[in-house]
Structures are given as C-alpha cells and as structure tokens.
Amino acid sequence: MPITRKEVEEIALLARLALSEAEIDLYTRQLGDILGYIEKLRSLDTEGVEATTHAVPMDCTLREDELGERLPVEDALRAAPRRAENFFEVPRIIAAHDEE
C-alpha cells in the first residue's frame, strides 16, 4: 500500500478539501493504484539527465513597465461571493496570523 489513510487526510488538508470518510477510503485505494503504477519510473535510470520545464526551449519575454487596462472595482467585485463596500469579505482571519 503506497499511501496511507493518514497521508490522504494530510493531503486533503493541504489541498483544502473536506472529504467524507467514504471519499478518504476511495482515494486511499485509487491513489494507491495510481502511485503503484507510477512506481515504474523508479526503474528508469535518469542519472545526469536534465529536467525539461518547457518542452519548447524559450526565453522569458519581458513587458515594458507601462500601465495597462485596469479592472473597474465594480467588475471585480460583481463576482465576489461576499463583499463589504469595496472589499472582498471572508470569515475573520485569526488575529495572530494577521499582518495588520
């Protein structure tokens, strides 16, 4: 079993997914299968092989420091699940974690 139920729970928290007990069971099994399949890469010798981050070699194009189109505050907030005046509103952030 390459992945434990406890690991699945830890990952779910990292990924911010509330999973039911049944989902935890299901994903423990399915992720186990997939990770088991992925194990086949271990047998492949990649010593000294460089990593490909971009399949087509390219350099970073840069933009000039110019002002572009700005999103009107109403357009930005229209989609917000909750707003308060011109802010996006979220459940209170624990004070000890805050910058302000």
Binding site: R16, L17, Q30, T46, A55
Partner: protein, 486 residues
C-alpha cells in the same frame, strides 16, 4: 445541401459572396441545436441573441463592401474553458457556475476578430480532466455516432458538436490528447499545435506546461484556416512563440511525394483494437500509394509517458486550481464556521470527484521531500521522451500512429477505474510531453464508430501535418461521412 453540413471554409466563401447570409447560417445552426442538442448535451450555453446580433453585424459589413475577415459569419463554438467576456464560463465545474468573466481571452478574441459568430459554450470534462466527457459537472455528452458511447474527452462537447453539425468548427484544448482523442472518437479533424503556437491567455489552466489550444473541424482545410487565425505570438503569454504564422492552407495541395512516415514500433503492440490497427495500417498504405515512404522508428521511452504525464499534469493542476477558494469569484460554501472551513467545504462542494482525485495526487507528489522522486523525475523522463522524438525525426518527417487504442467505449464503462481511463491516453500523451504538434483525422470505421489516425510533426512543423492530412483526405472519403441524426 444543408447549411449545417458545410465546412467553415465553404460557409465563409458563401457568406462573403452573399450567396447566403450570416444570419441564415446562424439561424440554421441555432435551430439544429434546439432540435438535437437536448439529447447530445454538447452545449452548456447557447448565446442565441448574441449570435444573431453578430451575424447581422457581419451581413452589414459585407453589404457595405467591407471585409469581415477569413471566418466571415462562420458559426463556431468554444469549449467552456475559453474565457469570454460577459458570457458565463464554467469549465463544466460547479465551482465556477455563474461566473461571467470581466475580460476576453486571446483565442476567442482572435476568432471573433476574424468574423466568426460565437454560438455558445461547449461541454467538457470538468477543468479538462478526463477522456470521456463523463466528468462534466453538468452532465455527459453523447457520441453522435452511437448515443450509448462517449464522445471522448476532455473536449467531448466540441468534437460531438462539430460531428453533429451543431457548429461549423470549434476550439478545444489538449493537455494529454483532449482534442485529438475526441476528434478520433467523433470522426472529425482535431489539431493540437506545437506548445506555444497559440496563446493560452484567457484559457483556464489545467496543466500549464502541457496545455495547448487547437481547432476541431470537419475538414483538414478548416483546421488549417482556424489555426492561421488563432496562432501567433501574444504579449500576454510569455510562453507564446514569436515565429510568424505561415499560410498553412498552402500546404494542403502539396502532396506527400518523398515524405518519410515514421511508424513507431512501440505504438503497435498489445492492447490496440484489431480494427483500429487495420484501419491505421491501411491509411499508411494509402499514403505510401500517394508517394510517401514508411520507415520503422523507435520511441523507446513510450511506456513511461503516462506515469510522467500524470505526475506533471496533476502537480500543475493542484497548483492551478488553488485559486478556486471562494474569495473572489465562484462558489462559496454556506455559513462557514471559520476561514479553514470555508476553504475546505467550498472546494469539496465545488469540485467533482475526478478533479479532487487529481488535486490530491498533485498535492501528494509536490510535498516536501517528494519533489525529486516525482516531479523532478518526471521532468527528466520528459527530456528522454523529447530525445526519442528528436532521434526519430532524423529518420522521418512525420510520425503516424493510431490516435486512440480503441474506436470508442460505452458511457459508464470505465468510470469505476480511473487508472484504466488514464491508460487510454497512451498514444496522445507523448505529443504534449514533447511539445510537438499532433493531428487526428478520420481513417475508417469500426461498426458505427469512427477511427482516428494521428500524425505527429516536428516542433512548429504543423505545415507537414496539413500536407499529409490534406493528401490523405483528398484521396479518401472518411471525412465526408456524417452520423445519422434527427
């Protein structure tokens, strides 16, 4: 001839010559959608008013002698992964239900600038994760050739809509075969261009280093025409390639005399349906009869492609999907007890099972201490696969394979076993890992289901794919077959 069976190239010519109005063409498609799509499930949204208004605008331009562009009045539709200003964009996910974007993406903008009429947004696997379109948050799409069968995925709605004549052409995205595989299963032409050839700005990201935009059409010529319109550098996408865009349609009539077709031995092995293999081998013989030469090539790391792909794609997906947090747009869980609860329930309610599965896998492989064993390793395998292709292309000008190992599968047949579903991408994934262009076109039938032929080219050599596909299409009639509908 029914307006809904004409190709995009034919329609734009008819409209530009005022033999038919853009409004009539649009109306015909809207009517057909109204009649047929309740059963097929291709469209998530039909913008009837917007489409008719745009069609009338195009007719107006033509009446005044102005050039409305190469896609004048052509009715197109977009996979719902393309961001369209003011038009709901959901990625077939409940987490984005109701989101009306405040901006327009580059590919859709370029289509509209070329005179196309946007009919609506097409169904897909949620966030493009799937090979059957069964992972849509808003219901499956049925294959127009056999409604008990899947249309393929993730651009299943796009392929089915083009096959069923519910639009003249569509755009899809392809991360591991998501254009080519549904094109094969629905009997249409689908192209995944070279990575970076088409801008990804305004295309909802699944796996950023693999995603690429491309057309699904009923003819090779249409695919070339659409690529000419959407390809090219974009200052909003740092990974878009600066190379100028050639006139791809010029390649269509060039014939295949002297072209070397690479036949990778690793692609003709156990697991491939006999009818599929026979059809593909027949297609190779057809191309040889037209002057091409087949050579056997080897892509030795093929068997590692799927494992590498599912590490890279899920890792990037887990990252790209972190923004769906219920803060700025989309779904938010009711009455959260605190911030953590808001995040966890919002995402659990908004994402479907396959998306969650991939986020979990991607999060797992990126954890501290695991990077080298998984993501780092997969990137190295990616290098080996790129080298395989570079070596093969020393002996051939393009590579010919089946698009999918099977002609199709029934709805529900594979939903219980995600790994089996992933393994079905075996022939399409390498193109994405290596960034190469790949085209699928119809090359036969297995009973009522079409079979797809895949052509893979060198980086930025889409022209050679069009050249071979054009010659094959001119010599065969597979592309003229239409499913029996309505």
């Amino acid at each position: 001839m029914n307006l809904c069976e004409r190709s995009a190239s034919e329609l734009s010519a008819l409209i530009a010559r005022r033999q038919v109005s853009a409004r009539e063409v649009t109306r015909a498609h809207l009517d057909r959608i109204a009649t047929l799509d309740r059963e097929l499930g291709c469209y998530l949204l039909v913008d009837q008013a917007g489409a008719l208004a745009r069609a009338e605008q195009i007719d107006g331009l033509i009446a005044r002698g102005l050039d409305p562009g190469p896609l004048a009045g052509v009715p197109v539709a977009l996979k719902d992964i393309f961001v369209t200003r003011g038009i709901e964009t959901t990625c077939a996910s409940r987490i984005l239900k109701g989101w009306r974007p405040p901006y327009e993406g580059t590919p859709s903008h370029r289509l509209r600038e070329a005179g196309a009429v946007l009919l609506g947004k097409l169904n897909m696997d949620e966030f493009a994760m799937g090979s059957s379109n069964e992972n849509s948050g808003f219901g499956p799409v049925r294959n127009p050739w056999n409604r008990a069968y899947v249309p393929g995925g993730s651009s299943g709605g796009s392929a089915a809509a083009v096959a069923a004549g519910l639009c003249a052409a569509a755009l899809g995205t392809d991360t591991g075969g998501s254009i080519r595989q549904p094109a094969a299963l629905c009997g249409v032409v689908g192209l995944k261009p070279t990575y970076g050839r088409v801008s990804r700005y305004g295309v909802v990201a699944f796996a950023s280093s693999l995603d690429q935009v491309g057309p699904l059409c009923r003819t090779v010529e249409d695919a070339a025409l659409l690529l000419e319109v959407i390809a090219g550098p974009d200052p909003r996408d740092a990974t878009s390639i600066a190379e100028p865009v050639p006139r791809y349609r010029d390649a269509l009539g060039q014939g295949v005399a002297g072209l070397r077709l690479g036949i990778p031995k690793e692609y003709f092995v156990a697991g491939i349906e006999a009818e599929v293999e026979q059809a593909v081998r027949a297609a190779i013989r057809k191309l040889e009869s037209l002057g091409a030469r087949a050579v056997e090539v080897s892509l030795p790391h093929t068997e590692y492609g799927i494992a590498a792909y599912y590490i890279l794609a899920t890792a990037e997906a887990s990252s790209n999907l972190a923004r769906y947090d219920g803060v700025r747009f989309g779904h938010r869980a009711e009455r959260p007890v605190d911030l953590l609860d808001m995040y966890c329930r919002t995402r659990a309610e908004g994402f479907g099972p396959e998306v969650k599965r991939r986020i979990m896998l991607g999060t797992y492989v990126l954890r501290a201490g695991y990077y080298e064993a998984y993501y780092g390793k997969a990137q190295k395998v990616r290098t080996l696969i790129r080298r395989d292709f570079a070596r093969a292309f020393e002996q051939c000008d393009l590579i010919v394979t089946p698009t999918s190992p099977v002609a199709g599968f029934a709805l529900g047949e594979r939903t219980e076993d995600p790994l089996a579903m992933y393994l079905a991408d075996v022939f399409t994934i390498a193109c994405n890992l290596a960034g190469l262009p790949g085209l699928s076109l119809p090359c036969g039938m297995h009973g009522r289901l079409p079979i797809g032929l895949q052509l893979i080219g060198r980086p930025l050599d889409e022209a050679t794919l069009f050249r071979a596909a054009g010659a094959y299409q001119a010599a065969t009639d597979w592309h003229t077959r239409r499913p029996a509908l309505g």
